[in-house]
Symmetry: C2
Subunit: 375 residues, 2 copies
Amino acid sequence: MQDLTSVGIVTSQKVKFDNPLHLKSGAILDSYELVYETYGELNEDKSNAVLVCHALSSNHHVAGYYADDTKNIGWWDNMIGPGKAIDTGKFFVVAVNNLGGCHGSTGPTSINIETGKPYGADFPMVTVQDWTVTQVELADYLGIKQFAAIAGGSLGGMQALQWTLDFPDRVRHALVIAAAAKLTAQNIAFNDVARQAIITDPDFYGGDYHSHNTVPMRGLRLARMLGHITYLSDHSMAEKFGRELRNGPLGFGFDVEFEIESYLRYQGDKFADQFDANTYLLMTKALDYFDPAHDFNGNLREAFSAVKSDFLVLSFTTDWRFSPERSHAIVKALLDNELNVSYAEITSSYGHDSFLMGDRYYHELVKAYMNNIIV
Amino acid sequence: MQDLTSVGIVTSQKVKFDNPLHLKSGAILDSYELVYETYGELNEDKSNAVLVCHALSSNHHVAGYYADDTKNIGWWDNMIGPGKAIDTGKFFVVAVNNLGGCHGSTGPTSINIETGKPYGADFPMVTVQDWTVTQVELADYLGIKQFAAIAGGSLGGMQALQWTLDFPDRVRHALVIAAAAKLTAQNIAFNDVARQAIITDPDFYGGDYHSHNTVPMRGLRLARMLGHITYLSDHSMAEKFGRELRNGPLGFGFDVEFEIESYLRYQGDKFADQFDANTYLLMTKALDYFDPAHDFNGNLREAFSAVKSDFLVLSFTTDWRFSPERSHAIVKALLDNELNVSYAEITSSYGHDSFLMGDRYYHELVKAYMNNIIV
């Protein structure tokens, strides 16, 4: 039976921008492509557009499925569709693969026309600020002067926040979910271990692994295993895996013994097969660099002084990657600027990954907020 | 000026046991050596002996320094010495490098007399239970029928606990510090990522790196970097490193940028230079396997039913590797058996590493407890 709450078959589109892009790092891209998807219909006065921003390893395929790959369902399909929390009957949803990604937008795996080879490690560092600039270009191309809302979880939430800082007139509402105003030393530490795993993999070749017809699988696998520990809560791991042994008695060897080992290694292997190592490095650096208060002596209230948007900020009780306290800091700084902020700390056992889950209370909150947006 | 609270110059001793050791894994070691140090004097009725057990990567050099290496100070020197919390004026302290270690006791780097080569990956898996058995052999050799106390932090605390289970008549007091009655799925997950980093290092050669004149430095380094994240608290990292940049503005590259990266990479490099990879694998497995309640359907109270010792259990507020809740579980199970238990949760910002720190309140607690022990 057809799922009436799915946006159904979707197709990706691509657009090339030929105006030079001046990145925060100082590097310039003469041109670049963005791959994106849209769901729903843009209304006549173009007031119903919602931008969805993706997190570390995700992409523009946010809802629905492909005609030739019906099992490839968008990563936030539980949130977006007809009658869903972000209702495609009301909103025109735009989702884009970030610059530097490995799913179609220009990134390290793209061919550098100057050399005729993939950029690889030569692809410049990109920041959250750079992404919002490219997303503005896409908005202009689509004729969207102002987004009704920009939504994202984790690194996606950071992009939503950055929009309200850099383009306050172009976003009416920001949904900042499971995010933080900056990384802690511990967050950076985890990222650095992941990066070191990739960079010290002998198959990395300084990022030039394509020329050597290889991929730093070992490093990517370790990075993903480590990432997964931080995405899950101690509690959800305990619930899901406990100390369950996979095969009866202790093996007294280094093969998989505990269920959690099996899960992590599987996740690591799957990821290493699919994701580009240089892109992973770039995305983690974008996280490390995100710190809007930095230019304001660490004062987040001052950093937010030009913001005009309304906000829905959400956190999850067991998220220890970006804990509720991190959202509190955002909410406090927004309120200090007398902005309209709705905040909820959602009880969930799934840790950071909660933002991807279909918790009913969570989705009803988002739905109620989105329903109140006038388009 | 001489430090009158130091045990001063110490020397390591070695003893060989020729009776076959039947390990939990089923493997048998025909003979093995243990390296150990002692501080203070064993009294006439041999009632003042204290065994100190070491944690994951530590060893038998617990206090004092070597005549030819005066900067090599024992890892718990702040705790043990004349007039210190564990007073060598009162107690005879014994510290041993665990079987499977890489600091002198028989382990993967030792020569296997059957092959004439280092054991390497052929060294059998060892458990906390195996260690207590070998420590009993050492006690017998030293003429110690009963320890006044057995003390340890982290994996060392687990050994103290195991003694009270397996040899209830041979230990009067156990000091179980920053420990847990078993690892969580998350603890195991961190260990497995560390192991996978080592095992997938091309220089590991299935554990036979000695034959290839190499060492899996990359893997060991990653394992240690990751370990350090779990030893420190988010708070102590924030205090110590914050988001401080090491060299002025953002570098937009993958060299060290943040102080925390510099610290972790330094710790990783240092460790990879010194520690044996096969030993690291064994020690993490000993941690994973530790679960005294396992044979009692997970019932810790029942597991402790034969215990006779008194206890000092200590935890630290910011320890997220083995959080205070983990100590509470131990204390509860001990109290359910109507044992004498002193418990304190010590306010400390140093995370799991707190057990190594010289916090005054912590040391005064240990001192008070040790002073009350009748010898």
